[in-house]
């Protein structure tokens, strides 16, 4: 995995005043995978994501994309290589979906002049891929939460980059839209080979979507592995300080976990008859 990494952070250190948010963290993201970043609030997940996107000033450490330091890339090159969606996005009044997605073409467009045919086809393709083909003329502010999140993803797709960084993309959505979004992202990963790194609070969502889960605590990655290994009571208790039960999906045997809202119970559910 070490040589094939498409995105790699070395010794990432970020501090706000005296508080260290990232503490010399190393991470390597393999191409074509879906990685979920999980951990308690304030453990540095979002800061790590911003650092990987080159948006976070670092006290120490470097981020490389395809072996090239991110700092060496011009801004437009960087935008063609990776896209990042923040947790909360401002939506300017009056902006239509098509216009928003067209913003994603900034790094590809000529400095002067309108959209080229390549721009247009990329925009239409991004709209189609997110199921927004018929919504281009609608105002972003008037969309439902799920549609709005997909519009932002369409903007990132229009950047035609290979890495997509997402900060809690499902947080404000209802269950149905959460499922739709997870499936849509999985699809994008499978069909287009886009590498996805995603901060998630819902561990079951992480398990359903990712092939690799990073568990973070206090600015470090404590555990790293496939969902089936990460969704076990021991690592979760270490990271969250809460006892969790592990279940396996009755049909697909996919790992699931729920918090034990009861005093410590020695036997995990799966072990009982």
């Amino acid at each position: 995995m070490s040589e094939a990494a498409i995105l790699r952070g070395r010794g990432l250190t970020v501090a706000y005043g005296a508080r260290r948010v990232l503490d010399g963290l190393d991470v390597a993201i393999a191409p074509g995978g879906v990685t979920a970043l999980c951990g308690a609030n304030g453990c540095g997940k979002s800061t790590l994501l911003r650092s990987l996107a080159g948006l976070q000033p670092l006290q120490a450490g470097t981020v490389e994309i395809d072996g090239r330091p991110l700092g060496e890339l011009k801004r437009r090159e960087r935008a063609r290589a990776l896209a990042m969606l923040a947790q909360a996005n401002e939506v300017p009044a009056g902006l239509t979906v098509f216009e928003l997605v067209a913003y994603g073409r900034h790094a590809h467009r000529r400095l002067i002049g309108g959209l080229s045919s390549a721009d247009r086809s990329a925009i239409l393709d991004a709209l189609a891929a997110t199921g927004l083909r018929d919504h281009g003329a609608r105002e972003v502010a008037a969309l439902s939460g799920g549609e709005r999140q997909r519009a932002w993803i369409a903007m990132a797709l229009a950047q035609q980059c290979r890495v997509l960084l997402l900060d809690e993309p499902t947080t404000w959505l209802d269950v149905r839209h959460q499922v739709e979004l997870v499936l849509a992202l999985k699809n994008l990963n499978r069909e287009r080979g886009i590498t996805i790194v995603c901060v998630l609070h819902d561990l079951n969502q992480a398990a359903a979507m990712a092939d690799r889960v990073l568990l973070m605590k206090a600015g470090r990655i404590l555990h790293d592995g496939p969902p089936a290994e990460m969704l076990r009571p021991a690592p979760l208790a270490e990271v969250y300080g809460v006892e969790m039960w592990r279940l396996d999906h009755p049909d697909s045997a996919a790992p699931l976990c729920v918090p034990a809202f009861a005093p410590a119970r020695r036997q995990p559910l799966e072990a009982r008859p």
Binding site: R50, E90, G94, A107
Partner: protein, 672 residues
């Protein structure tokens, strides 16, 4: 009381309010004592009856009332500021920013000029007018639930409107109300002991009302729903708060004139040092406000500056550094929600609107050429051009360049406003509110007064220096906070207040004809000739390609800094370029037409309200609207009360502000 523990878990310090209150009280008492000491000393050591009589008069009739008036007015301004901030849940609300002070000023004017109102002149009339202004701002903003930003914008438009009206009145009735001109700079009223006691009676009703409002206003900080949930009658509390604050403002304006700053600064200063409870905040705001005002008054006296340096100027001088330190240390204020002024209505088409604007502009310009004391039909224009009608040529030679200057300056100010608002991402960031206009005006005016024969290149140089320096200061102060909208707005407000006050002081100090300089200050096209237009045009032409080039990056910036950077934009570079461009545009326009209000601040919103949000469309539409507005102001100002000239700057606000307020209130109904 449940409400109190919510925002401050486990108060570690033992009631900082009480300790700070004691310290502040001691400080203010010392200040007052220092102000009173010389006369008090003279009183106790007086020899002989004549000297004693004089000393007694000096102490009891002059100095003591002055100090008390300063304390009372400052306290009322401070408390009114805290109240308005609680009611609107916005830390930069203040009586002057919401137009209430200007409303009270209108009351003073009415009391002086309308004999029938003489009976109620003084605090009651001021109160009614202030209340009217508050009602206007609130109505336009969309009622109590308006977002803080909408309310501030509506209040700002209201204040601009009323101030413009006042300036027109000052310009028209210069002789009758010379006293008002001086007073409107703000000065501690010298009514003597009797006048002070009379005014103090009007302080009683708001003081009686306050205790009943305290708990409700405090709960408002939780939000309307939560406040209702714990049993607060939100509407009556809000209403009572506004009425009480307006009464306090009216009282303070009656005593001391329209002194800004105190209402804005006092509560924010206290929040920055950790006062959260509303009761303490209100009481300490009053104390701080009173202290601030007598400190400013004392500073004027101590430095034995002339009477021309009014209390308002001194307050701005004392208050600005405090406010700036607060902004720089970043302790003040959490930003309120960043609401848009209005959701744009329908999506308008540039292909329809742009030609319509152009046709309207041409028609208006043609009308402006023809209309006036002498009606000039187009046939005589041709005759004038061919040289066969010297009279028409002479008149056109006066009218045409004014219109040309109006068109160019209007476009430049509007473009500057659009760019500034987008770059700072703050709907309040017109060149007027950021102090760029005032900075350019101050340097230009100072230059004009120092070297009356100064040529155009020097004027441009001075204006650019003033505008760019102001902008540079604002940016330097806010660099560490990444140009967060609210601190930038606060910094700009501080500078614009300071520079406006200083400009005023310069005028009073040096000019034999304050009214003329006042008119220059309002901005206008009076007496502008072809060389002015020719000098201005290159600035516009050079900036057009830059504007076209920047419009797309500015679109991206509306998504936020991170999103724009993620899309491949060099946000820092864009900010620097765009801000520089905006400052150059505004300063160059100010060099020729003076600080024309309203155009730069509100035409960008007009363009948005008409239905344009992308910069490629919004810039040309705003520029067209700016040109249209300025030309209309030029024509009306020239002809409406001929031969008296109304300054165009007053008219841009008088024409534009009502339209803006109307659009705002309409947009709200459409949007929600």
């Amino acid at each position: 009381m449940i409400a109190l523990t919510v925002d401050r878990p486990a108060p570690a310090r033992a009631s900082p309010g009480l300790r700070l209150g004691l310290i502040a009280a001691v400080l203010v008492a010392l200040l007052a004592l220092a102000r009173l000491w010389p006369t008090l000393h003279a009183l106790t050591t007086a020899h002989g009856p004549a000297e004693a009589e004089a000393a007694r008069f000096l102490f009891w009739e002059l100095r003591l009332p002055r100090v008390l008036a300063g304390l009372a007015a400052g306290a009322a301004f401070g408390a009114a500021g805290a109240l308005f901030q609680a009611v609107t849940r916005n830390p930069i609300a203040a009586p002057d920013l919401l137009g209430v002070t200007a409303g009270a000023q209108v009351g003073v004017l009415l009391g002086l000029t309308v004999p029938a109102l003489a009976a109620v002149s003084g605090p009651p009339l001021l109160f009614l007018c202030g209340l009217g202004a508050a009602a206007l701002a609130l109505t336009a903003a969309g009622g109590w639930r308006a977002s803080p930003l909408r309310l501030l914008l509506a209040g700002g438009a209201c204040a601009l409107l009323l101030n413009a009206g006042l300036t027109v009145a000052l310009a028209l009735f210069e002789q009758n109300i010379a006293g008002l001109a001086l007073w409107s700079g703000g000065a501690l009223y010298q009514p003597g002991a009797a006048g002070l006691t009379e005014a103090a009676l009007w302080l009683l009703p708001p003081l009686v009302a306050l205790p009943f409002l305290l708990r409700g206003l405090e709960a408002l900080s939780l939000g309307d729903d939560a406040a209702t949930g714990i049993g607060v009658a939100v509407l009556p509390v809000r209403f009572g708060g506004v009425v009480t604050a307006t009464a306090l403002t009216a009282f303070a304006v009656a005593l001391a004139g329209p002194i800004g700053f105190v209402g804005l600064i006092a509560p924010n200063l206290l929040r920055a040092v950790g006062i959260r409870r509303f009761g303490s905040l209100l009481a300490l705001s009053a104390l701080t406000g009173g202290g601030l005002l007598i400190a400013a008054d004392g500073a004027v006296a101590a430095l034995s500056l002339s009477a021309g340096l009014s209390t308002a100027v001194a307050t701005a001088l004392v208050g600005t550094p405090i406010l700036l330190v607060l902004v720089m240390r970043g302790r003040a204020l959490t930003p309120p929600d960043r609401g848009e002024v209005a959701a744009s209505g329908r999506a308008a088409s540039l292909a329809v609107v742009a030609p319509a604007l152009l046709v309207a502009l041409v028609a208006l310009a043609a009308f402006g050429l023809a209309w006036g004391e002498t009606w000039l039909p187009p046939t005589r224009w041709i005759a004038a051009l061919t040289g066969s009608d010297p009279e028409a040529a002479l008149i056109l030679g006066i009218r045409a360049p004014r219109i040309a200057v109006a068109v160019i300056a209007g476009m430049m100010l509007a473009a500057s406003g659009v760019v500034l608002q987008s770059v700072v991402r703050n709907a309040l960031a017109g060149p007027e509110l950021l102090g760029v206009t005032q900075g350019a005006a101050l340097t230009t005016l100072a230059g004009l007064l120092a070297w009356p024969l100064m040529g155009r290149p020097e004027t441009f140089a001075l204006a650019l220096a003033g505008g760019l320096a102001t902008l540079g200061l604002i940016l330097a102060i806010n660099r560490r906070r990444r140009f967060a909208p609210l601190p930038v707005a606060l910094t700009g407000l501080a500078f614009s207040g300071l520079f406006a006050a200083l400009t005023y002081a310069v005028i009073v100090e040096t000019s034999a004809q304050p009214a003329r300089a006042l008119i220059w200050l309002v901005g206008g096209t009076y007496g502008r000739a072809w060389p002015d237009a020719v000098a201005l045009l290159p600035w516009l032409l050079v900036s057009l390609p830059a504007l076209a080039f920047l419009s797309r990056p500015l679109d991206l910036l509306t998504l936020g800094d991170d999103a724009a950077a993620g899309l491949g934009l060099d946000v820092g570079l864009l900010r620097a370029l765009a801000l520089g461009l905006a400052a150059v545009l505004a300063s160059a326009a100010v060099a020729i037409v003076g600080p024309l209000a309203f155009v730069g601040l509100l035409t960008p919103h007009l363009a948005r309200l008409v239905g344009f949000h992308a910069h490629g469309d919004r810039l040309p539409v705003a520029m067209g609207l700016g040109a249209l507005l300025t030309v209309a102001a030029d024509i009306v100002g020239r002809g409406a009360l001929a031969p008296t000239e109304i300054p165009a700057g007053a008219l841009t606000a008088l024409i534009g502000a009502p339209y803006f307020l109307w659009l705002m209130s309409r947009g709200r109904k459409g949007a929600r």
